[in-house]
């Protein structure tokens, strides 16, 4: 039992670090990775694309992609090692995540040779950015209940409807779109999967402002948008199966929450004095800190277990399914606790402290982390059904033609 790289892994890590040192700026130690901070800075997109190009040239883009797609053909653990290293640098590669990790792997798996030839390279080199057009306002957690219609028209399709929660729609070049091609079939059976050029006529993008005031998501509206049939991925009606390839990879990539964690809570406690002396001597504060440290370490070592399996070329167990659920709730707890500890002076007093504003900011974006990418409730369903093997809930819409499924007064 050890935490060390194998010799091969260590060599790869050194190479990754050398590339990053030469092409990016290492974050100062102790700097907290904010919630998508920096993404809104002017010039950020260009800088990100430039870095992605160099990354691809150096062979670090698509490390775990097969060689025939233009990837490195490396292992999953190499991908993780590179990601670990990259996380220490101030680079914005997150915007390529949907393309590299979700869209192209799905398209390359289900699509044609022409799809691979046209889209894989530009995606990997950061020349084309991708977004995901799955969620709809009426669907919510019931992802497959989507209503956006694609109607056959000659050698193509005409799309009408609305998507939501599309990250970066305004700067993306292409989107992966699931639309309903047959509403007379049951929910999962009448869907098809398309590649949409985001610059097509009839595509309208409206940003969604979140509680925190930022707007990283969009609504995307389609009015008679045409898609050629050769931009369809997989058979007509097989859209849900194709989408599952995307969704499985999305769930797998869940990371812990950004923002204040044990370290920041500890630092706050070090800085404050309470009724009975230093906050760090207060038993209630100590117990909370100990619980968060234990949970944070538990998640860390859970990732280590996953990495061990990957390092051995094995399929990891289901343990990583807990990470998002635990991390999102912990963040909200820590944010509220930090404010309570500061007390009456509340949010303003944050300025007087080394962590000024961090807890307030987290309080406002934490709710999104318990919802986006699968609500707490959906995550518990997944754990209960897929991990523990408990039976599914009774399906009110089972076997029903989609157009007949009850949708309520709204």
């Amino acid at each position: 039992m050890d935490f060390d790289d194998t010799p091969e892994e260590a060599e790869f890590r050194a190479a990754a670090r050398a590339f990053l040192d030469a092409n990016a700026i290492r974050r100062a130690p102790g700097a907290v990775e904010g919630y998508r901070r920096g993404q809104d800075k002017p010039g950020a997109l260009e800088a990100a694309k430039d870095f992605q190009r160099r990354k691809a040239e150096a062979g670090f883009a698509g490390i775990n992609w097969p060689v025939e797609w233009g990837g490195r053909g490396g292992t999953q653990i190499q991908q993780i090692i590179y990601d670990q290293e990259e996380a220490r640098y101030d680079v914005l590669t997150g915007i390529f995540g949907i393309g590299v990790n979700l869209a192209l792997p799905t398209i390359c798996t289900w699509g044609t040779d022409a799809h691979r030839a046209r889209f894989a390279g530009p995606c990997l080199r950061g020349e084309e950015v991708w977004c995901q057009l799955f969620s709809e306002p009426a669907g919510g957690s019931d992802l497959a209940a989507l209503r956006t219609r694609a109607v056959r028209d000659g050698d193509g399709w005409v799309v009408n409807g609305q998507k939501i929660w599309t990250s970066g729609a305004h700067y993306c070049d292409f989107g992966i779109l699931v639309a309903r091609t047959d509403p007379d079939r049951p929910k999962h059976e009448g869907l098809s999967y398309f590649i949409l050029d985001m610059k097509s006529p009839g595509v309208e993008i409206r940003p969604i402002r979140q509680i925190s005031g930022s707007a990283h998501f969009n609504e995307v509206f389609f009015t008679d948008v045409r898609i050629a049939d050769d931009r369809r991925v997989g058979p007509v009606g097989a859209g849900w199966k194709v989408a599952l390839t995307t969704l499985m990879r999305e769930r797998y990539g869940m990371r812990a929450a950004p923002g204040p964690d044990f370290e920041e809570a500890f630092a706050l406690a070090q800085a404050l004095t309470l009724e009975d002396g230093p906050a760090l001597a207060n038993a209630a504060v100590r117990e909370k800190l100990a619980e968060w440290y234990t949970r944070t370490q538990g998640l860390r070592f859970t990732r280590f277990r996953t990495m061990t399996a990957l390092s051995r070329g094995q399929t990891p167990g289901p343990e990583s399914s807990i990470i998002k659920l635990v991390a999102g709730n912990k963040l909200q707890e820590i944010a509220a606790w930090g404010l309570d500890l500061m007390g009456m002076a509340g949010s303003e007093s944050g300025e007087a402290l080394p962590l000024g504003g961090l807890f307030e900011e987290a309080l406002l974006y934490a709710p999104a982390l318990r919802i986006a990418g699968g609500t707490d409730e959906i995550m518990r369903n997944i754990i209960a059904e897929r991990v523990l093997g408990l039976p599914p809930d009774i399906r009110a819409d089972k076997g029903m033609a989609f157009r007949d499924v009850p949708t309520g007064p709204r």
Binding site: P137, D142, G343, M344, A345, G346, A352, A368
Partner: protein, 371 residues
């Protein structure tokens, strides 16, 4: 056993609820969130109905309805998320003036407050951490005060500050907004619908409130305000629960209302429990407030603790129940969430009140005191 509000106050509550639903729906709070200044016309309307001066004596322009009236009105102001200086000007500063002010101070300020012409606020916090009336920062000498106070509620619309600071004869000082040496600057708070500000005082003229001579008096003022705040918290929590319940009934997923899933049902049942516990404890606070009972400090603490808990779970899980829509700016969920968190900080967090509650209970149980 008569653990309920008298009928005339129930009527007042119903009246307030109707009026506020009409004149001050969440859209009003949203306008404030987007930067609209205090709606002084609306505040004057409340004053004209006698609510702003509800508990003030009639000789000072008040309605003389007593503390229970403030309780029921606080609940409705909390329910409607009213972007008004209710807590600061009525429940805190107004009550402080009525309790501790000199006859001249009362005669000058109370009629203006009751009429909604002037807004007053309490400025307590000097820095992060628990508030302790026995250890106040800043100082007063020769009628001049120098101090900084953080997170002062409604600071930007206040005409009068009552500033907690140690000085000759009082711990609470009357400072007019337009006096020299007074600087008010906006501060970013969690709940911009009731904006907070920073108050910087440099040799500003200050008058002592003669009745606020010791920490006990100040503490009692805060206890009284905490009961009223608990009713505000209760109203906010109830409104958030109602919003979540309505949504859960009407929103469908998987071919059925989401409120038919136990994950949602049981979550909302837990919210209901917290709300009921908060209501019962707030009623106890109301009784202690009206009776001016020796139990007031304990009653205020339990009302405060239960109110904070109900506000937090109800507004947090209202967002969660709404799913993706819940964390958008466009939906009202965050207005409740912001308000409840701000309410939970304004008079000191639940953590501080728990500490204080046990101090009080431990003192009761000390063997050298009679049962």
């Amino acid at each position: 056993m008569n653990f309920d509000f008298p009928d005339e106050l129930k009527q007042l509550r119903a009246e307030a609820r109707r009026f506020l639903a009409d004149r001050c729906p969440p859209a009003a709070a949203r306008r404030a969130l987007e930067g609209a200044p205090l709606d002084r016309a609306l505040w004057s309307e409340l004053a004209a109905m006698g609510w702003v001066g509800a508990a003030l004596p009639e000789r000072h322009g008040g309605a003389g309805l007593g503390q229970l009236a403030l309780c029921v009105l606080s609940e409705e102001l909390g329910r409607s998320l009213a972007p008004l200086p209710w807590a600061s000007s009525v429940c805190q500063a107004g009550e402080a003036l009525a309790a501790f002010g000199s006859p001249a101070q009362q005669a000058h300020w109370l009629p203006r407050l009751a009429a909604g012409e002037a807004v007053a606020t309490l400025a307590l916090a000097a820095g992060p951490g628990p508030f302790d009336p026995a250890r106040l920062a800043g100082g007063v000498a020769s009628g001049r005060i120098t101090a900084t106070r953080l997170a002062v509620p409604d600071a930007l619309s206040a005409d009068l500050f009552l500033v907690a600071a140690p000085g000759p004869g009082s711990l609470l000082w009357l400072v007019a907004r337009d006096a020299p040496g007074v600087t008010v600057s906006p501060a970013e708070g969690i709940d911009p619908t009731r904006p907070i500000g920073r108050l910087d005082l440099r040799d500003a003229p200050a008058e002592p409130l003669p009745g606020a001579a010791d920490p006990t008096a100040l503490r009692r003022l805060i206890d009284r305000a905490a009961v009223l705040a608990a009713f505000e918290q209760l109203g906010t929590a109830e409104a958030a629960l109602a919003m979540a319940t309505d949504y859960a009934r009407e929103r469908y997923a998987f071919g059925r209302p989401i409120g038919s899933f136990q994950a949602i049902k049981h979550k909302l049942a837990d919210v209901y429990i917290a709300v009921e516990l908060a209501r019962s404890n707030a009623c106890y606070g109301a009784w202690a407030l009206e009776a001016d009972s020796a139990e007031l400090p304990v009653a205020a603490a339990v009302a405060r603790i239960a109110g904070c808990e109900a506000g937090w779970i109800a507004t947090r899980e209202n967002i969660q129940t709404h799913g993706g829509m819940g964390f958008t700016w466009a939906y009202d969920c965050h207005l409740y969430y912001r308000r409840a968190r701000a309410q939970a900080l304004a008079l000191g967090s639940a953590r501080e009140w728990k500490h204080r509650l046990i101090d009080l209970l431990a003192a009761r149980n000390r063997p050298d005191r009679p049962e």
